[in-house]
């Protein structure tokens, strides 16, 4: 059984094919980062225009690259939300009409469930139950995952997502979009001891996050320096990154304690951050729990996770009708 997966929720066009015996047999990704860089963030109309140009040629290429014929594909999975509505509609329109033409089921996938399941695309996947940290440019959430499709929200960001805070601070420091890798690079040259940034919402109990105040603190720190040297920027980058990483680590530790679970799965674009991985590895060693990350290739948005999630849903007998229906806002607990 093979499932075609299409991801168009934001600024990456992803197309992949999952085979139940061979795993991911095609995985194409087209990133629009260059297109949006000069605007310091994603321009929805430009993103949608690019998706409608790229998606179908990438489907064609994925079939060719994997030696799949149309009749080898048993279902088409696409990201139905959350995300930019115009971008989601492109993937949904193509996926559902192609599924109609091929007379196979189509399946709308929750983008963050895709990210979550990407961590299971390894030789040694975690067993349920586990705590999942979903951390990206659009989300920062802690979930209790009891079994497939049975998730409880433990806590989430009350304002900016962690990745969004990285992007905004990168802009303040004159670094390119996306901010995560840019700040992580610069931070390697920074002196961690110079600035002390707050760890928001850690002094009180609870599993929610807030990164907006940290952003303001960064802005004030920059304003307090008359001239911003390269070393200043690096020192701020490392202090900011440490504050985000530390905050996330504290909340993960609390979530593990609150649920009594001893596996932690990290998913989403920010899970590629090396400092975050190091911090959580220390945590897992200290608590004798296991921590799982997706393959670096699968940390960003991609079609493979959507194809894989589609395979899961198809095996469970999920089907949907022909209506093109996307959900720009879609809490994962509604799954």
């Amino acid at each position: 059984m093979r499932v075609l997966g299409i991801e168009t929720s934001c600024d990456e066009t992803g197309v992949a094919i999952y085979d139940e015996h061979q795993g991911i047999i095609a995985n194409l990704l087209y990133s629009q980062i260059e297109l949006h860089r000069e605007f310091g963030g994603v321009v929805p109309e430009l993103a949608s225009r690019d998706h409608i140009r790229k998606t179908l040629p990438m489907i064609d290429e994925a079939l060719l690259a994997s030696g799949s014929k149309p009749e080898d594909i048993h279902a088409i999975a696409y990201t139905a939300g959350p995300g930019l509505v115009g971008a989601l509609l492109v993937g949904a329109s193509i996926a559902k009409s192609l599924a109609l033409a091929w007379n196979i089921p189509s399946l709308g996938i929750h983008h963050m469930e895709g990210h979550l399941l990407a961590a299971l695309l390894t030789d040694n996947p975690p067993d349920y139950p586990f705590v999942a940290l979903l951390v990206s440019g659009g989300h920062t959430q802690l979930m209790a995952c009891h079994e497939p499709e049975n998730y409880d929200l433990l806590g989430e960001s009350q304002d900016d997502a962690a990745g969004e805070a990285f992007d905004k601070v990168a802009r303040m420091l004159g670094l390119p979009y996306p901010g995560g890798p840019a700040i992580a690079d610069l931070a390697t040259e920074g002196k961690a001891a110079r600035f002390s940034f707050p760890r928001p919402m850690t002094s009180k109990p609870g599993l929610d996050f807030s990164f907006s105040g940290l952003k303001t603190f960064t802005l004030n720190t920059i304003a307090s320096l008359k001239v911003l040297s390269q070393q200043d920027k690096a020192d701020i980058a490392v202090a900011f990154q440490e504050a985000v990483v530390d905050t996330i680590r504290i909340k993960c530790e609390r979530a593990l304690a609150a649920t009594g679970m001893n596996s932690l799965v990290i998913a989403g674009g920010v899970s590629a951050n090396v400092a975050l991985r190091e911090s959580l590895n220390h945590l897992s060693a200290r608590l004798h729990c296991q921590v799982f990350y997706p393959d670096f290739r699968l940390c960003t948005d991609n079609g493979a996770m959507i194809a894989f999630a589609g395979y899961h849903r198809l095996s469970k007998g999920h089907r949907e009708d022909l209506a093109i229906n996307v959900k720009p806002r879609w809490p994962m607990v509604e799954l």
């Binding site: 225009r49 930019l84 009409s97 599924a99 033409a101």
Partner: protein, 251 residues
Amino acid sequence: MVVRVQLLAIDTSSSATLLGLQLGEEIIDRTRGKEVASSRYHSRDILPTIQQMLAEAHMGLDEIDAIIFGQGPGSFTGLRIAAGIVQGLAYGLRLPVVPVSSMACLAQVAFREGIQCRVAVALKARLQEVYFGTYEFSEGVACLLGPEMVVDVTQTPRQEEGTWLGVGDGWEDHRDSLEQSLGITLEDVLAVTCPTVENLLTLGRWKLARGETLSALEVRPKYMREPQLSGARQVPESTNLVERGRDTHQI
């Protein structure tokens, strides 16, 4: 033996959603929203409606010969939904696609036997701008005279004098400016803003007969206008309802 041509037509460029089938001489028209905007299709209705039309006609999707696609200009998101559907169906069924200008379709509304005049289509775009195109009839179909464009109402290209008919809502507010910049006087204005399935199919059949087709991989909306790029947004955030809603479009 007469070959019965079977075509699927779709256009989401206007406030109406055009969906139709050509079955030999017969046309099935499932257009919605021409009179009452609230009756227009939501994007979720398009594929089920196509399936219903086919069921009524007792035919399968694989019996369609080509897809006629109203390329625009029009609502960006609307055009992309139609383009996505046309791409998916045409790729999956290995069908040729006939792209048709939605403005030429509007010009076609003015056609009647023996008509001699030329047609200038002007559709409201933004503020002082209109989507603009000129057409004349040849072999019963509206053929493009000059390039279609989006243009300030005072900057339209000068046209030869003669008998001209205006079509579209762009004439409503800007008739004086347009006539002045074009150097013409209209005989009359047809204030239609939505093309029809019949006209879409007329132009589509004509182009199909001339082999003016695209493969699924070549199908694109005809935006004619660059997006406004003031103020990029960050990656979507689940709490940010209002901003996200601005980009929302339903057809």
